[in-house]
């Protein structure tokens, strides 16, 4: 390859690559963080940074999962309910004597089953994913209420708290889980055949099918993955607060989906990175942290949140517009 080609590749990369988009969003995050560090030095305290990261890790894990569905051009708004049900299920199982690992596995399986139901509705009954997952959102939430009769589940063995509150070398475990999920999903999406096919499916479903790909199974898989991730996020959260609430995750899907889109994924499918989602979640997390550290008045908080989200994504769009 001659130098000319290299330059061409670079410029093409800058215009087309999702990596460039991820880079821009990363810059936005750094910018936000720097501004915050100046305005509120407490931001840089290790404990604050760690607890901020710990707090957005559930959003990130669920975001990483739902981003796979978004990659196919679909949406999953049931993840907030799945998040709630998983916490409740694990807590109830542990109360009935299960130990941590099998209970968590079962909780993730519950999430996977909910995802499977979403997938089957979308693929075989051809429901628009918005409706299928809206319905599932309500059904799953209903199950949460029915299982618990509305009462938070508490009184589990102390091991329940390990996932959300444990630490390793001074760093909270949820952060490790978040990184683990990110790595696994990044490899899955970018390096495996299935991952590549999901991208293709999101770009052009018909063409992907005609390329010999079982697009039905693929789509179902994506919903299952979203369910499993949302379930794990729900477990992190329940474990973090030590109690499983049947209402947990109400509206959580908004945050998770927002972090995916802020991270540069397209609602239309076919575009997006795991790192982007991670950064999107971090932006949301730092923003929440900032609102408190800067003592923004309660009436102004939602407004500021909206302005920052719009600004962050605008900056990334402006880069693209420079074509």
């Amino acid at each position: 390859m001659n130098p000319q080609d290299k330059k061409t590749n670079l410029s093409l990369w800058y215009r087309n690559s999702s990596a460039a988009s991820t880079l821009t969003i990363l810059l936005i995050l750094l910018l936000m963080s720097t501004a915050l560090a100046i305005a509120a030095p407490a931001f840089l305290k290790a404990s604050n940074l760690l607890s901020t990261a710990r707090n957005f890790s559930a959003i990130a894990v669920a975001g990483i999962g739902v981003s796979v569905v978004i990659l196919t051009g679909n949406i999953d708004i049931s993840i907030g309910s799945i998040y709630g049900l998983a916490g409740v299920s694990v807590a109830m199982l542990m109360k009935s004597g299960w130990s941590l690992v099998p209970a968590v596995a079962a909780g993730m399986a519950v999430g996977g089953l909910c995802g499977l139901a979403n997938g089957l509705l979308v693929v075989y009954l051809r429901l628009p994913s918005y409706i299928a997952t809206l319905g599932m959102m309500q059904i799953v939430r209903g199950v949460c209420y029915i299982l618990t009769q509305g009462y938070p589940v508490s009184g589990m063995a102390d091991s329940f708290k390990w996932i959300g509150q444990g630490e390793l070398m001074g760093v909270p475990l949820p952060i490790y889980f978040m990184v683990l999920f990110a790595l696994v999903f990044a490899v899955f999406r970018n390096r495996t055949k299935t991952g590549r096919r999901i991208f293709a499916l999101g770009g052009n479903e018909e063409a992907t099918r005609i390329s010999g790909v079982n697009t039905k199974a693929l789509k179902i898989l994506c919903f299952v993955l979203a369910g499993v991730c949302a379930a794990f996020a729900g477990v992190i959260n329940a474990s973090k607060v030590g109690v499983a609430q049947p209402t947990a995750g109400n509206g959580f899907e908004m945050d998770a989906i927002a972090s995916v889109i802020i991270g540069g994924s397209s609602m239309g499918g076919g575009v997006g990175t795991v790192t982007g989602t991670l950064i999107g979640a971090a932006i949301m997390g730092v923003l929440r942290n900032a609102l408190v550290l800067l003592s923004v008045e309660s009436y102004w908080q939602t407004l500021v949140m909206g302005v920052v989200i719009i600004s962050a994504v605008t900056i990334d769009q402006l880069r693209k517009a420079r074509r």
């Binding site: 080609d5 590749n9 087309n16 495996t192 055949k193 770009g203 063409a207 005609i210 079982n214 076919g270």
Partner: protein
């Protein structure tokens, strides 16, 4: 339309670059009233780009455009329309969720006295236009339900409705069969008689001599030559296009025929196919001829597991094959180049490399994981084999010229190394040089024992490349011919009755 008359359109020193590509380099072009100018060139030469500048889709980097002697700027499609230019794009632009009538009049809807769209008038005028292009369809039909050729004719009707002074047709015939092409040429002649100028882009040499007055040849973004059609020969045009001799177009070498690779027995589908049977041997090229809507594409889709079959058996190498979805077909070693590259074959937002490897991921992977090096090598191989004009393997396919996109589709299926390869209009929109390469590749594959099914609306291609030819009509197989000695007329006769 002698050179003495004032040109209707004059483009001077038009240049246009895309990142990594200089698509047009100081191009001059004149078009005279009442003439048909054939604009030709290899895939990626810049023909469509030049025309999109005229239609206001692209803005030129430098250059001037004069219409009837006056300098004009064409910043957007609307001003181009107002200036009297209408265009049929290479890539279909139908609104599939609207009726035919609405497609034709979108943006210029007739308004009744009450301020609402005058639907009656719209349908009346659409009816007249459809009659003109000989499309016997209800104007209320949803455009999404039409076949590619029918959509193409709707676009022709739309282009006519502008009463433009200059009509640009970017490869309109690539998805038409002879009958529609003849209709189109009749229309062109009538327009010409009215003094309308027409720029006609095509890769089919015969068409140039049937219809064009002059020929302009683009090469690598530069105007290589302009000539009068009557003073020139096919060889001249080709050598101006590619800078070398090409020789005979259809190169079918004789390959030893093996066992029957694919056999279809009594295939029927719910609506359109009845009892279709055929077979193809390894090493054989089986051509499919027929009119638009004869059902050839539907046969291939049903065989490949895209559309459900109602009855019928598929045998692969003598054994019954359970093909229910496309993945099954792939496993039986079948490859399929579909007829509509944009809708059915390409992931437009993906790179050249990733599109090429999509059907062959198993061949470039270790276990679950894609071996990126192997993937790149595979793509590089086909980019050079098929001479795909792209600045990089990382270019998104949507930024390639139409013909180069088609090459990517072919590469994708060749990369999969199928034993049975179904090609539905594989050379649509491909330039003469590349076409020849593809024909040669087909021939080579056949020699290596691949069984090939070739569906093409270009009869010379079917006749030139096939060992046997199956003719279809209204969802049924009408008969078959041996390649040797059959004429276009014989095939047409069978296809229409």
């Amino acid at each position: 339309m002698s050179e003495q008359t004032r040109p209707l359109l004059e483009m001077r020193g038009v240049s246009k670059s895309f990142p990594g590509v200089k698509a047009l380099d100081r191009v001059d072009l004149q078009v005279y009233p009442g003439e048909v100018l054939a604009l030709v060139g290899e895939n990626g030469a810049g023909k469509s780009t030049l025309m999109k500048i005229l239609s206001g889709v692209h803005r030129m980097d430098e250059g001037e455009i004069y219409l009837e002697g006056k300098a004009v700027s064409l910043p957007d499609p609307l001003s181009s329309q107002k200036a009297g230019i209408s265009i049929i794009y290479q890539e279909l632009n139908t609104l599939n969720n609207l009726s035919i009538a609405e497609n034709i009049f979108i943006g210029r809807e007739p308004i009744a006295k009450n301020g609402l769209v005058d639907r009656q008038r719209q349908h009346r005028e659409a009816r007249a236009l459809l009659d003109e292009v000989k499309l016997p369809l209800d104007t209320q039909t949803l455009t999404g339900k039409l076949s590619t050729a029918q959509k193409q004719m709707v676009e022709v009707a739309k282009a006519l409705s502008f009463n433009a002074k200059l009509i640009i047709m970017d490869e309109p015939t690539s998805s038409l069969t002879n009958a529609e092409t003849r209709t189109l040429f009749d229309i062109v002649r009538r327009l010409k008689a009215r003094g309308v100028a027409i720029v006609f882009i095509t890769h089919r040499m015969v068409e140039i001599f049937q219809i064009a007055d002059r020929v302009a040849v683009l090469r690598d973004g530069q105007m290589a030559a302009t000539m009068h059609a009557r003073d020139t020969t096919e060889a001249d045009i080709i050598s101006a296009m590619v800078g070398r001799e090409i020789g005979d177009l259809y190169v079918k070498e004789v390959a030893p025929l093996g066992e029957v690779a694919l056999e279809v027995q009594g295939l029927s589908t719910k609506n359109r196919l009845h009892d279709v049977s055929f077979y193809v041997r390894s090493g054989e090229i089986l051509g499919f001829a027929g009119l638009v809507g004869a059902g050839r594409s539907e046969v291939m889709r049903a065989v490949f597991g895209i559309d459900p079959r109602q009855s019928g058996t598929i045998l692969v190498r003598g054994k019954k094959a359970a093909i229910r979805k496309t993945g099954d077909a792939l496993r039986y070693g079948i490859g399929f180049v579909p007829e509509d590259r944009k809708e059915q074959a390409l992931i437009l937002d993906m790179t050249v490399k990733k599109n090429m490897s999509l059907a062959a991921l198993d061949r470039v992977s270790r276990g679950w994981f894609i071996d990126r090096l192997r993937e790149s090598r595979l793509a590089e191989k086909f980019v050079s084999l098929l001479r795909v004009r792209t600045p990089s393997l990382e270019q998104r396919v949507k930024n390639l010229s139409g013909g180069n996109q088609q090459k990517v589709v072919i590469a994708k299926w060749m990369a999969n190394e199928p034993l049975i390869l179904i090609l539905d209009e594989p050379t649509r929109g491909i330039d003469v040089g590349a076409k020849k390469e593809i024909h040669k590749l087909m021939s080579d594959l056949a020699r290596q024992g691949v069984a090939i099914v070739l569906v093409s609306s270009e009869l010379p291609e079917v006749i030139g490349m096939s060992d046997r030819i199956v003719v279809m009509h209204e969802g049924r197989v009408k008969g078959s011919f041996d390649r040797r000695g059959v004429t276009q007329e014989e095939i047409m006769q069978m296809a229409v009755s």
